[in-house]
């Protein structure tokens, strides 16, 4: 696992404290992500990685799991 994914996992643990989310879990289909947690999560990700997440990046595909979120972060960090 890359360090980005580790950090993302930590942030997820903070945003969803009662859930035990493995990289296989789908945040979207499990219904975990709702509008309030999405806003919180994006806030944390932007602060932690110094990136700017546009509404166009807010897709179920990008936010399906820690792995996909880490991939999004990596992409945005490169910009």
């Amino acid at each position: 696992m890359s360090t980005t994914e580790d950090n993302v996992r930590e942030i997820l643990a903070k945003t969803f404290p009662d859930k035990d989310l493995s990289s296989e879990d789908n945040l979207v289909t499990s219904g975990e992500i709702d509008s309030m947690s999405a806003i919180m999560l994006v806030g944390e990700l932007e602060d932690e990685f110094g990136i700017s997440i546009s509404p166009l990046d807010m897709t179920p595909e990008n936010f399906a799991s820690a792995t996909t979120i880490a991939a999004l972060v990596d992409r945005l960090e490169q910009d």
């Binding site: 992500i33 509008s35 807010m58 179920p60």
Partner: protein, 510 residues
């Protein structure tokens, strides 16, 4: 159209009429399932016949289903059986559902595969699967008999709302209430067969009564927006555009998600013509964002409690307000009467603050099995001793502006609105007090941060145990954002908990 509406004496009349006029038009669609008006009527008759077979004619029936077309079929099925329904929140903790069931005392509970297990614990042996009920052969003559015996004063549903002592209050709403209220809503906003709703509010909240029943009344089409889409706002916009949604009736928080992400700059809405909102204060900057992006659309602020079916006053936005200017809540709905009343019971002068009282056919029939609270809030008309119809004291403090439009000031009590949800802080406190080790507590609402902060005193409880105790009793939307422990709660000169002092503590600690 207005005359036709008033000829109806029961919401089933509306469904029958729309099924005759628009049989193959999509009435409701939740993304998985879709029903036309003819199908909705037929399935409602099937469900009603099944309920009758269970002995549940003119009875209380509870509905425990996820957000879906199935909820609407169940609601109308109960109505066709002459009964009164409650739509339960399938995300509510078990304790809260048990409390509601205890007050509502349903004869039957409608469930589906997903909710069947919970259903069995709530009402063992008295659960019916919706899909089975839809397969029942309708008994037309029985249904006709039931319909003939129906009265406008019959209850249609009970809607449970947060109770300050911890037990949810059940607001009883009649067919007459819904006919009058939806008659107003659909006329005021020109709802018709061309209206396409993108419905946001859950079906266990009063706002859903407006779009669901005006759809049934007017032959409109209603798409239930999957909750998940609010986390993915650009997806939400595409979803609305694909379905040519032209009318929104949302809580301001939902509209705020779009403006916060500046979604409309990258993903414009193509078909929206009408945006109505209610349930909480609408921040003017949010409204201005929407008006800037939809210059041709009509916007309206609606205001009212569940106890007046949904709304009692409204304000159609006619001009752009400055970002810092609060939006008026407007004037009484046509057919409804409001009064602003001083503490001594006399009418407030224009500009003066007072409690909003509401009279007229939207006023609900009281709280289920709670004569004391009903007496306290549904009172004799203070200005007309000869009128026996009760007047509802909203507990909202308002004042009349120079433009004859009312403005909201505050609550009289500790009820708050957060993200459109009505929350009695007392209900949060009751849940905390139930945790072993908590000696006393007080919940306050920091409006600027939209946060509920819970202060507790006592020994022998830890934050984990307290959070579990709260989760067992409160739906997610009522959970406090922060929990602080104090040695003792500050007290004011009257010996009551000093909530202002607690709010001051909040801002220091932040």
């Amino acid at each position: 159209m207005r005359e036709m509406k008033s000829k109806a004496s029961n919401v089933v009349d509306w469904l029958q009429r729309s099924a005759n006029l628009y049989p193959d038009k999509v009435a409701f669609d939740d993304g998985t399932r879709s029903v036309t008006f003819a199908q909705l009527y037929k399935q409602s008759c099937a469900v009603a016949t099944r309920l009758a077979r269970e002995g549940a004619v003119r009875e209380h029936v509870a509905i425990l289903l996820p957000r879906s077309v199935g909820q609407v079929i169940s609601m109308m099925g109960v109505a066709c059986a002459g009964g009164c329904y409650v739509v339960l929140d399938d995300g509510s903790p078990a304790d809260r559902l048990v409390s509601i069931i205890k007050t509502f005392k349903p004869a039957v509970l409608i469930t589906c595969d997903r909710t069947a297990e919970m259903g069995e614990t709530l009402l063992p042996g008295r659960c019916i699967r919706l899909k089975d009920a839809c397969n029942e052969a309708p008994n037309d003559s029985l249904l006709a008999d039931i319909h003939l015996a129906a009265k406008p004063s019959d209850l249609l549903y009970v809607l449970f709302t947060s109770g300050s002592t911890g037990t949810p209050k059940g607001v009883m709403v009649t067919h007459a209430n819904v006919l009058a209220y939806v008659g107003w809503f659909s006329t005021c906003f020109a709802i018709g067969p061309d209206t396409v709703f993108g419905s946001q509010t859950p079906l266990y909240f009063s706002m859903s009564v407006s779009d669901v029943f005006s759809t049934i009344c007017c032959g409109a089409t209603l798409f239930l927006i999957p909750r998940m889409l609010f986390a993915f706002p650009v997806r939400l916009i595409s979803w609305l555009n694909e379905r040519k949604v032209n009318t929104l009736y949302w809580v301001p928080t939902a509209l705020g998600i779009i403006s916060r992400w500046d979604v409309l700059s990258v993903a414009p809405l193509k078909s929206i013509a009408n945006v109505m909102f209610a349930g909480e204060v609408m921040p003017t900057p949010t409204l201005n964002y929407w008006m800037d992006h939809l210059p041709a659309a009509h916007f309206a602020n609606l205001f009212g409690p569940t106890e007046t079916t949904d709304i009692c006053a409204y304000y159609k936005v006619t001009h752009r307000l400055a970002d810092g200017e609060p939006l008026p809540i407007g004037h009484a709905c046509e057919g409804c009467r409001t009064a602003i009343v001083r503490e001594d019971g006399s009418l407030a002068a224009p500009g003066e603050e007072g409690e909003l009282y509401v009279a007229g056919p939207f006023v609900a029939a009281g709280y289920l099995n709670d004569a004391a609270r009903t007496r306290a809030s549904f009172v004799q008309d203070p200005f007309d001793a000869s009128d026996p119809r009760p007047v509802y004291r909203t507990g909202d403090i308002v004042r009349l502006g120079e433009d004859h439009e009312m403005r909201y000031v505050s609550r009289k009590d500790t009820q708050i609105k957060r993200s459109g949800y009505r929350i009695e802080l007392g209900e949060v406190e009751a849940a905390a007090t139930a945790c072993a080790g908590v000696a006393s507590c007080a919940a306050v609402f920091e409006a600027t941060k939209n946060q509920i902060v819970l202060f507790c005193t006592g020994r022998g409880f830890d934050s984990e145990a307290l959070t579990s105790a709260l989760r067992a009793r409160l739906p997610k939307y009522m959970m406090p954002d922060r929990i602080e422990t104090l040695r003792s709660l500050p007290v004011n000169r009257n010996g009551k908990t000093d909530r202002r002092a607690l709010l001051a503590v909040c801002s220091v600690k932040a």
